[in-house]
Symmetry: C2
Subunit: 367 residues, 2 copies
DNA sequence: TTGTACGCGTTATCAA
DNA sequence: TTGATAACGCGTACAA
């Protein structure tokens, strides 16, 4: 007993002092644990535990006593102890691209809010921190300490899918951007929007407006041959027997700055294109800025259309014609599917495919 | 022993199966734990633990053996067990406003990256999720499971400070926006920029341009009398014996949409102001949009200036005149101070005050 | 319906 | 330098 108290003093006490948690003059922690609640309520720890997990199995008087003690002590269960015991963290890892990008911020925010509804916490892993390197992620992410994973790294679907396969036993939902992944992976693990079709819609629209010399702006992916957006562009151009004015895919991140630089590169090439198809709204905003700097009017001199429909697309000047990606709805669905997996419930795998809708604003017009 | 194995089967096995972790046909978990490493390396668990924490205290041959075993088993320490034992989570809670706001996204992202350098994880608590209610936060946030807290909820400093005081023993850093908090709180816990002075700078500049009828746009804070930005505006106007054209402070969130609506309200009031001073860039973008819809030219008909200097301020049309808040530098400092607190190091409390610099762009001009 | 006792995976202590 | 062991706080099987 003396020994025990000593240990308490040196170990917990010190550790807690270090953490800044209140301790009394004897070095005993003042943060209540289940034992303290039990003592105060005059019951056993087992009973307190039952109160926390299956309160309906408790007699009313005991229930009230425990509740009262918890209140008085401001008791909060220790999550580490609980997680350790039940081998489940109630935490979801979100593998995303870059939180400063409004598209991904919206995605992350929705996932976070939805997860909260199901009592799950969310931790963000940003692939931009590690240069999009999934091997690094594989090494650093302690994946088996998460209840589940949502992967929404559109930038390199091949790697995302590969990563998921390496963890096939872990509850996971992947947001994908191309039909081709449907065959490769369980459909109840996929939330899907067909970016190839999406770009085709945009490109068809630009062509229908009479544009023939169309420039394409994107960022270079590792597996560039399979970039679904670029593919959609190429398919549409071929279908109409049109040659791209140019294809600019810098090895940079999706930022306004990159959009600006991409536009500059197009301008340097000499002859102006009729239209620019940018594969993200964020880049488009940079494009607009660059064109304005060069005195080029949008849409009169050059038209511009892009992809995502971030909130800002409606607020820039001129307002962006773009393709709506229902990212909030997709995120809600992703969490729903993941929770079903984590809790071993069946979940109909219908309705995981989302439509992309063209939003026509001011950067395009009838010639 | 039989009993033990049985328990393993029913409990861990099942729990793990539920989680989708690999188990063999006997229900034994195939995720390696420290015991497995020890067995394979032919050492005790204590030795493996030493390898993980103080490898320099190990003999070379043992060190190599453990390293080899860890490799072979792809062993990763269980964080819950470790946290439970050492009573420290190596996790920082960030109390922020709204991750979709670019200003706060930049803030959160920098904190996250910096924290990573010191081997801390970061969890986001967004006050917008809970309507800015600190009492809710107080109840739901398991604060003593975090190694430290960074509070950057500028929207209601009174409550932020109060929250911090209620947790005075917890390592915490607060970003503040007004001189007045310096006296109330330990200076080594504060990263500071004087928003009152900042707005004064902006307002002085607008007045120096010949504007006299200036409208102010912000959002309503709970403690509106002490809103440092509004205060700066009022002080400057009084100093110049000017009456505000109008003060619009909707009870909404800081969004482009709110900025739009605020501008509409100003326009409805009849006589146009000479200039609008908006207290955040995000709102300004909405203002620009609204003015354009009404055919009002910026800066010719109305000038506009604001606060934050988010990246987008340089990319909108016209480009925003605004006040630079060095949010990245402030975030870096915040993490530095927090780490010092968490690890009981001294940290000179100099240089925690950051200067706000006026950035003149296109929404203002000499008349 | 409640209490007892054990174990989750780790680190710290102490003896060897 | 290493190994055995207790303890972190909780949930659950089983006994009462």
């Amino acid at each position: 007993m003396e020994e025990c108290r000593k240990t308490l003093c040196t170990f917990s006490g010190l550790a807690m002092v270090k953490k800044g948690i209140k301790v009394n003059e004897k070095g005993i922690i003042l943060v209540a644990v289940i034992k303290d609640v039990a003592k105060l309520a005059g019951v056993s720890v087992g009973t307190v535990s039952k109160y926390l997990n299956t309160p309906e199995l408790l007699r009313e008087d005991k229930r009230a006593a425990v509740e009262d003690a918890i209140q008085k002590l401001n008791y909060k269960p220790n999550l580490f102890a609980r997680n350790l015991r039940v081998q489940d963290s109630k935490t979801i890892a979100v593998i995303a691209q870059e939180i400063r990008n409004p598209f991904h911020a919206a995605l992350f925010n929705t996932i976070r809010k939805e997860a909260m509804k199901y009592n799950y916490s969310v931790v963000l892993y940003s692939l931009n921190d590690i240069n999009g390197n999934f091997d690094t992620l594989f090494e650093t992410l302690p994946i088996h300490y998460f209840s589940g994973v949502i992967s929404c790294y559109f930038h390199d679907m091949e790697q995302s899918i590969d990563f998921a396969k390496r963890h096939s036993k872990v509850p996971m939902v992947i947001m994908t951007n191309s039909e081709r992944y449907f065959d490769e992976y369980d459909s109840e693990k996929i939330v899907h929007a067909d970016f190839t079709q999406g770009i085709q819609k945009v490109c068809e629209y630009l062509i229908s407006l009479g544009n023939t010399r169309i420039a394409y702006i994107g960022c270079r992916t590792k597996d560039q041959l399979r970039d679904p957006k670029l593919k959609g562009f190429m398919l549409t151009m071929e279908k109409h027997r049109l040659e791209p004015h140019s294809i600019v895919r810098l090895e940079k991140e999706y930022t306004m700055q990159t959009g600006y630089e991409s536009a500059e590169q197009i301008l340097r090439s000499g002859q102006l294109p009729d239209a620019i198809l940018s594969d993200t709204d964020v880049m488009s905003i940079g494009v607009l800025n660059c064109l304005r700097n060069h005195g080029i009017q949008v849409p009169d001199d050059i038209m511009l259309a892009s992809f995502d429909n971030i909130e800002q697309a409606e607020y820039c000047n001129p307002r962006l014609t773009t393709l709506n990606v229902p990212i909030e709805a997709m995120s809600v669905k992703a969490v729903e599917l993941l929770v079903a997996q984590m809790e071993n419930r069946e979940c109909k795998n219908t309705g995981n495919a989302f439509e992309l809708e063209l939003i026509i604003r001011e950067t395009t017009k009838n010639r």
